[in-house]
């Protein structure tokens, strides 16, 4: 869906649902994912609909992904970092409750 017109001098690698993704330093996670052809970042909580970024400026809250275990991060507001573990989200986040009897 997007391609880079300026080749970055260096790149870093993070994973999205286990898949390695290249990013340029200073690039947002959302931009890197779009460049890698990722369209669906999550499914919505109320209706389970596929969603991806809409505004890229931090107001639509549709680009939410889990980053390094923290759910509901706006991927357009977070810079990609080497070794980051990014995961798509499906449904509402879970709360660690502990062992049920």
């Amino acid at each position: 869906m997007f391609l880079r017109i300026i080749e970055p001098r260096e790149t870093l690698t993070f994973t999205f649902d286990g898949r390695p993704i290249q990013a340029a330093p200073g690039e947002s996670v959302a931009a890197a994912l779009l460049q890698a052809g990722v369209r669906v970042f999550r499914t919505s909580v109320p209706g389970g609909e596929p969603r991806g970024p809409h505004c890229l400026m931090g107001i639509c809250f549709d680009c939410l992904v889990t980053i390094d275990g923290v759910p509901n991060r706006q991927s357009c507001q977070v810079d990609a970092a080497a070794g980051m573990v990014v995961e798509s989200q499906h449904g509402a986040r879970a709360v660690e409750w502990g062992e049920r009897p």
Partner: protein
Amino acid sequence: MANLGKREFVVIGAGVVGASIAWGLARAGARPLVLDEGDLAPRASRANHALVWVQGEGHGLADYGLWTLGSARRWPQLAAELKAETGIDVALSQQGGFSFCLSRAELDRKAGILESIDRETGGRTSPFMVLDSNETRTRLPGASAAVAGTIFCPDDGHVNVLRLFHALHAAMAVRGCEYRACHGVEAIEPVTGGFRLTGTWGEVQAEKVVLAAGLGNERLAPMVGLHSPLKRCKGQILVTEKCAPFFPYASLLIIQSSEGGILVGASKDPSSPSPATSQPINAVLAQRALLVFPQLAALNVVRSWAGFRIKTPDEFPVYEQSARAPGAFVATCHSGVCLAANHALVLAPQILAGQLSAELSPYSARRLRVPQDH
């Protein structure tokens, strides 16, 4: 300025209390006119914790504990009827509720209150269980070690209050109630044949009038020979993002709404006249919730609400028909959500019949004029 003519019943206020009563009247055969204020009027119905809470109610007036329990037991009927009439599921959940205590002393104090209510009602109030720290964590594995114990009551529950609000309004429409917003009542005047209600919108005459205007009742009641004093009480809650279901119970600390968000409550601020949310109160609400459920720390807070709640000086309701101007009724209460079932299914038919039952005599405002000596 319009003259709306004459009506048999006018209900002033369309919050949870007014809408429950209006729907109850319509259900029993009346066609009330319901007068509501504008969009930004302070509405306790939009600033509450959504609890159908029984535990500990009635301390100081045991009958109130029974009135509350009765409403909780009628709630499933209210929910079912609203669903059938409007298609809206208000997500009533009555899986029991926990009171959290951070010390043995607090646990003993709360248990003592419940025991005294139990005695005063001759054992007719809701059962309860006192659980120590280990017993609590067996039922709530997520609770932290800071919890010294809890009191569990199986009759406690909660409901999706915004859906309830929507359902009551939709049900009023289905039943043919006439609802008019931006029709705040400025004055009520007893006249021959009933009452004359006036506002900037005009006037209407009513044979019978029900004051269910929440905060507005204090001002309106004396106009019809009734008394509904209120003390200021601002309530504030935090709301988090949606989570997968993990806490189905009721508690004064957290509730998980049927939509998934956690409501963190609640405060009772008697001092602040401003509707703005207070950051220090937000901080304490958050700190208190995290003491008991530290795993909630990573959840995002998406908004904070504050609103003025309804509290009479002794915190018990006022239900009364005016002796000076019969046909004028007042309904003022704090727990409009919990009591919605009674208001619709018990109080409304009594209002329609023109007489409140003996069960409601403790709630006459006469008790508030007498100097308290206990």
